[in-house]
């Protein structure tokens, strides 16, 4: 790892000021589960690290009726073990329990994952399917407008993800088809059903990161059953292809994993 300097703000304002002061060479450090390995490989070399783990405003889970708000600094383990989230939106809690391994879940945060937007990250699929909102220290952004492309979000320089929020749907589930070695999603699908329709968020498969599968949404909105997507095809052109699976393989996975997710949602 190249040299760096560590800073520990205790408020959002202090964190943002540090980022302004340090400029381009600074990076926010949340759980560090992506950033630190990346720095160790010398693929990233920020001159300054601004640790967000001691910023109180980023903590806490609030559930009001069916409205859920999760602070950016909340860890995956806290989401997975939250009785409040489990009681209104069990699909979201179980997604958090499938990220990494227990030690990674103790450190990694919702805000860090959302801001990084790894093409195989799990939360983006859920936030897209749930019509979620990403809150920052400057504004609120709908998930549909937030996730732009590979590792690319609507976040501006120095902007901090302070929370994510969404309304729990009537039924939902997340199904993850993991690479057997890395355990990352080769394809992960979150389905959310409400009175006004179904939304389907897909991660791990798309060549531009997580996306909504609109053909699948249409079919499932008229018939919320696994068979509803049988006749559909997913375009290979939009899929990732690598040594772990071709784009044709991933295109097929989108259908298969969606069917499994629907089956799971129906069984809840």
């Amino acid at each position: 790892m190249y040299e760096t300097s560590y800073h520990r703000p205790t408020s959002l304002e202090e964190a943002a000021n540090l980022a302004t002061e340090k400029g381009d060479e600074a990076k926010y450090l949340s759980g560090g589960m992506t950033l630190i390995p990346t720095m160790k490989q010398r693929l990233a070399a920020p001159e300054a690290l601004i640790d967000l783990r001691h910023v109180g405003e980023l903590k806490g889970i609030t559930v009001n009726g069916r409205s859920i708000r999760i602070g950016g600094g909340v860890t995956h383990a806290e989401v997975a073990m939250s009785d409040e989230i489990k009681s209104v939106c069990p699909g979201f809690a179980s997604l958090a329990g499938l990220i990494g391994d227990p030690a990674v879940r103790h450190m990694g945060t919702v805000g860090g994952s959302v801001a990084n937007f790894d093409p195989a990250a799990d939360y983006p699929a859920a936030l897209l399917a749930l019509g979620g909102t990403i809150h920052t220290n400057k504004r609120e952004i709908a998930a549909d407008d937030f996730f732009l492309g590979l590792f690319e979000t609507a976040l501006e320089e120095g902007e901090i993800v302070t929370a994510v929020s969404f309304e729990a749907p009537d039924q939902c589930a997340y199904e993850k088809f993991r690479n057997p070695a890395s355990r990352y999603a080769m394809c992960g699908v979150f389905v959310a059903r409400r009175a006004d329709g179904v939304k389907v968020g897909v991660t791990g498969a798309g060549s531009s990161g997580a996306f909504r599968w609109s053909d699948g949404e249409q079919a499932l909105s008229s018939d919320f059953a696994p068979e509803a997507v049988d006749g559909l095809t997913v375009s290979e052109a939009d899929m990732m292809g690598d040594i772990h699976g071709s784009s044709a393989y991933r295109a097929n996975l989108v259908k298969v994993v969606t069917k499994r997710a629907v089956k799971k949602a129906l069984s809840h």
Binding site: T4, R8, K40, P102, M107
Partner: protein, 162 residues
């Protein structure tokens, strides 16, 4: 260089470290606590698992400066005097190790797992929760038995490859 203060195995330890120093380097290099191992150094294998403020984390993926002000428990901090921690005793009883390289991390992960699940642990959960700990000897079988035993959980009815 930054001054850090970390309570390690109940004792307040102070040190001056480069900000890029990993927690595992601080534990092994500065404090000489070499029970915590470095296996893959890419957060996959779990040989470096320690507890930070009571939770299992990978010390190769955390900076020492991040842990300043925290309490860290390493494998050296589990036993009380000559008495092994119950999880250590269970690993010995069930021979939950072959070469032993992964063992400190396995035990720290197991202690954390048992704290969270208690005697409700079952074989499937143990295997799932060992996702981030790799035993290159593939000795998982006895590790799972040891963890279930230490948790006071029931052993699987039929264990394969006995």
């Amino acid at each position: 260089m930054t001054d850090v203060t970390i309570t390690v195995n109940g004792r307040e330890m102070k040190g001056s470290v480069e900000d890029r120093t990993l927690l595992v380097q601080f534990l092994r290099g500065n404090l000489g606590l070499t029970g915590t191992h470095v296996g893959c150094d890419t957060s996959q294998c779990g040989a470096c698992v320690v507890h930070v403020d009571g939770k299992a984390v990978k010390s190769c993926t955390m900076l020492a400066v991040q842990a300043s002000g925290s309490s860290v428990t390493t494998i050296e901090g589990l036993a009380s005097g000559a008495d092994l921690h119950p999880v250590q005793a269970a690993f010995r009883e069930h021979h939950g190790l072959q070469c032993g390289y992964c063992t400190p991390g396995m035990i720290m992960t197991a202690v954390d797992m048992i704290q969270r699940h208690g005697s409700s642990l079952d074989e499937e959960t143990v295997r799932e929760e060992l996702d981030g700990n790799i035993c290159r000897c593939t000795g998982y079988h006895n590790i799972v038995k040891a963890i279930l035993s230490a948790a006071g959980a029931s052993q699987p009815q039929s264990i394969a490859a006995e």
